[in-house]
């Protein structure tokens, strides 16, 4: 029997399979404006009701904003900051008050009328970026109506146990954030596109999502079991037998990802890139073998700098969660595109070539020393490595290691316990590629940060859309550099990892395997896909047929891709 299948837009990477749960439709907010208005209502009391609803909604949103900021950083928190701006917007809530005054209508009617006008206006715009903001407007209005009603804050009746695929007509940021994200396998949403705020939140939390399903929605809603691919955007019905078979393959736990992933492939450690202790649930969920890149910037993005104690705690929490696998902590990488208000750094004309990462640490030794002491102390909790970013010369590495040694002595003097600490460095500046053989003698491992390496090697700012097409991970020069670093690492007998976005690029699986890369670290949600890709590569064949040398012999990215595709399952 053919399986039923639906096609949408892949909005957040990853595979998911499991039972479905239908998110109840919210209150209608953008219906036609109410026809009759009881003209005798006391506007004062209606205005007071509206003001109260605005106040409570703002309180809720402030909490969401804070939660997201602490878990995921400023960028995503802005979604809720924008919703709060709407609550004080003269053209939005201001118009609602005017409507109450002029028409003597109920506060609910004023909310619906203004929402209707705003939605109509935004829907008429050509640019999809703007049209998608309709959902944001409706989200805020729905919360206002909720608080105007007797029900108060919306309580989603999510099942109290088990993991579920959430099926929703539409998904708003507030509802996304209200769901227990560690028990959501995936989202399937009828409306919206890749730039909707719900899609952004799903990606941030590593939950696969398929959105924009144009046909067959009613039938899809009736499915009890589905599987889906958040990269290719398909959803497929799952029979009870298939589901039982998938489940019985599981060895432990209830994560569906494991089913799909097969075994751990061929001696490559698959680790996670994370940004804060709140990502620990993702490490477990996607079965990461430790953390290959722990970005510590998040700690420094708050209004005040973190104390040594706070840092010890934030590092140790992750180290304990990863035990017995390794946690690789990268020292502060502020500067470039990452800002930290508490450091009050001056603007630079060319921040990517300026006082960034280690360079900043050398200029602000107290920052660096505090962080290194905290890392040493946290190392007592389990297997830990420290990794220095943005090294362009041997002297910098030597200097960083001196700081590390001083920090070790200081921590011991203070009577704290320490563990053994691996010391490594990122390779992300082309000069470090050239020096890899020399640098390798001073460290326990290399980790290639491909995003910056590509940007610096190809002289392309990938945020600049005018040149974004020149940013090519398959560029023969980029792959040549990766190979050179890997060979230098082998020669010096140290391990080599990749922690840039390329590390999670399944197309490169044959290349990485042929090179003998020891560790790939990536966004947790990408792990299942990479695991599958690696499991489909025949290492013996790759070596026998000299795939790496053939790739390194290519003159263009197109030629490279052709070879890679020939070895894809």
């Amino acid at each position: 029997m053919d399986k039923k299948r639906w096609q949408g837009i892949g909005a957040s990477s990853g595979y998911g399979a499991g039972e479905t749960w239908i998110l109840p439709a919210g209150l209608p907010v953008s219906a036609e404006p109410p026809e009759s208005t009881p003209g005798s209502l006391d506007s004062e009391s209606q205005l007071a009701r509206l003001a109260k609803a605005i106040e409570i909604t703002d309180y809720d949103l402030a909490q969401f904003e804070e939660q997201v900021r602490s878990e995921k950083g400023e960028e995503v928190a802005q979604i809720f900051a924008a919703h709060r701006l709407l609550l004080g917007d003269p053209a939005f809530t201001g118009e609602m008050s005017l409507a109450i005054q002029n028409k003597h209508c109920l506060a609910e009617q004023a909310v619906k009328q203004v929402t209707h006008e705003a939605v109509t206006m935004l829907s008429a715009l050509e640019d999809p970026y703007f049209r998608e903001r309709v959902v944001d407007i409706q989200d805020v209005s729905r919360q206002l109506l909720q608080h105007l009603g007797a029900k108060g804050k919306e309580e989603l009746q999510f099942p109290s146990s088990g993991n579920w695929i959430v099926i929703a007509e539409e998904l708003t940021p507030a509802r996304t954030i209200s769901l227990p994200k560690d028990r959501v396998i995936a989202f399937v949403v009828r409306t919206g596109g890749k730039t909707s705020h719900a899609a952004i939140l799903a990606r941030t939390y590593g939950i696969p999502a398929v959105v924009g399903i144009n046909s067959g929605w009613e039938e899809l809603r009736e499915q009890l079991l589905v599987e889906l691919d958040g990269d290719q955007g398909w959803i497929s019905a799952l029979s009870k037998e298939d589901w039982e078979a998938l489940k019985s393959k599981q060895t432990a736990g209830h994560s569906t990802e494991q089913v799909f992933s097969g075994g751990i492939p061929l001696g490559i450690t698959l680790a996670a890139n994370i940004g804060s202790p709140s990502d620990i649930s993702l490490i477990h969920r996607f079965k990461a073998q430790g953390v290959g890149l722990y970005r510590t910037e998040f700690l420094f993005m708050a209004d005040a700098l973190p104390t040594e104690e706070e840092q010890v705690e934030a590092y140790a929490e992750v180290i304990v969660a990863c035990f017995p696998s390794l946690t690789v902590i990268r020292t502060l990488d502020i500067g470039g595109d990452k800002r930290a208000p508490a450091l009050a750094l001056p603007d630079e004309k060319n921040p990517f070539l300026g006082v960034r990462a280690l360079r900043l640490c050398f200029k602000r030794p107290e920052l660096f020393e505090t962080q290194l002491r905290a890392i040493w102390r946290a190392s007592a909790a389990g297997p830990t490595a420290v990794m220095f970013p943005m090294i362009s010369s041997l002297e910098e590495l030597v200097k960083a290691k001196e700081y590390l040694e001083e920090a070790r002595k200081a921590v011991i003097r203070q009577g704290h316990a320490i563990g053994s600490l691996q010391v490594g460095m990122m390779i992300e500046i082309p000069a470090a590629v050239w020096l890899a053989g020399k640098l390798a003698k001073l460290v326990d491992f290399f980790s290639i940060g491909t995003n910056d390496l590509i940007q610096y090697a190809l002289a392309v700012d990938r945020e600049n859309s005018e040149v974004a097409d020149l940013y090519q991970v398959y560029h023969p020069a980029v792959l040549g550099m990766i190979a050179q670093v890997a060979r230098a690492a082998k020669q010096a007998d140290i391990w080599i990892g990749i922690c840039g976005e390329a590390g999670g690029d399944d197309r490169l699986a044959p290349f990485f395997m042929g090179l003998g890369i020891d560790e790939l670290s990536m966004a947790p949600g990408v792990l299942p896909k990479m695991r599958t890709a690696l499991a489909g590569v025949d290492k013996n064949q790759i070596i026998r047929e000299g795939v790496v040398d053939r790739i390194l012999d290519c003159a263009t990215a197109v030629e490279v891709v052709k070879i890679l595709e020939a070895y894809q399952k």
């Binding site: 960028e75 053209a91 705003a118 640019d127 705020h197 600049n464 859309s465």
Partner: protein, 89 residues
């Protein structure tokens, strides 16, 4: 009153996050701020009004600032648009 002509240099235009930053910046100042695009003239401190202009990447608009801190406000907003363009956001 200060009036300036601006070009949106970032790809996706003055939508969501960039518009939010604009209003957050505008709200720091007492001066009244108006945004003009073609026939339309809207409140520069209203997120909804700003979105309604549909300022996509590459489009132009004028803004005027009127009030006690107009010079600082005009400066801050000009700088913001330039920064957005630089970051390509």
């Amino acid at each position: 009153m200060i009036t300036r002509e601006m070009v949106i240099g970032n790809k996706s235009g003055l939508h969501a996050r960039p518009a939010t930053l604009w209003v957050q910046t505008a709200n720091r100042f007492q001066s009244s701020i108006r945004l003009v695009k073609g026939e339309r003239d809207v409140d520069g401190k209203s997120l909804l009004a700003l979105l309604s202009l549909g300022l996509s990447g590459g489009s132009t608009f004028q803004f005027s600032v009127n009030g006690p801190d107009e010079a600082a406000a005009a400066e801050a907003l000009t700088k913001l648009v330039a920064e957005l363009a630089q970051k390509g956001e």
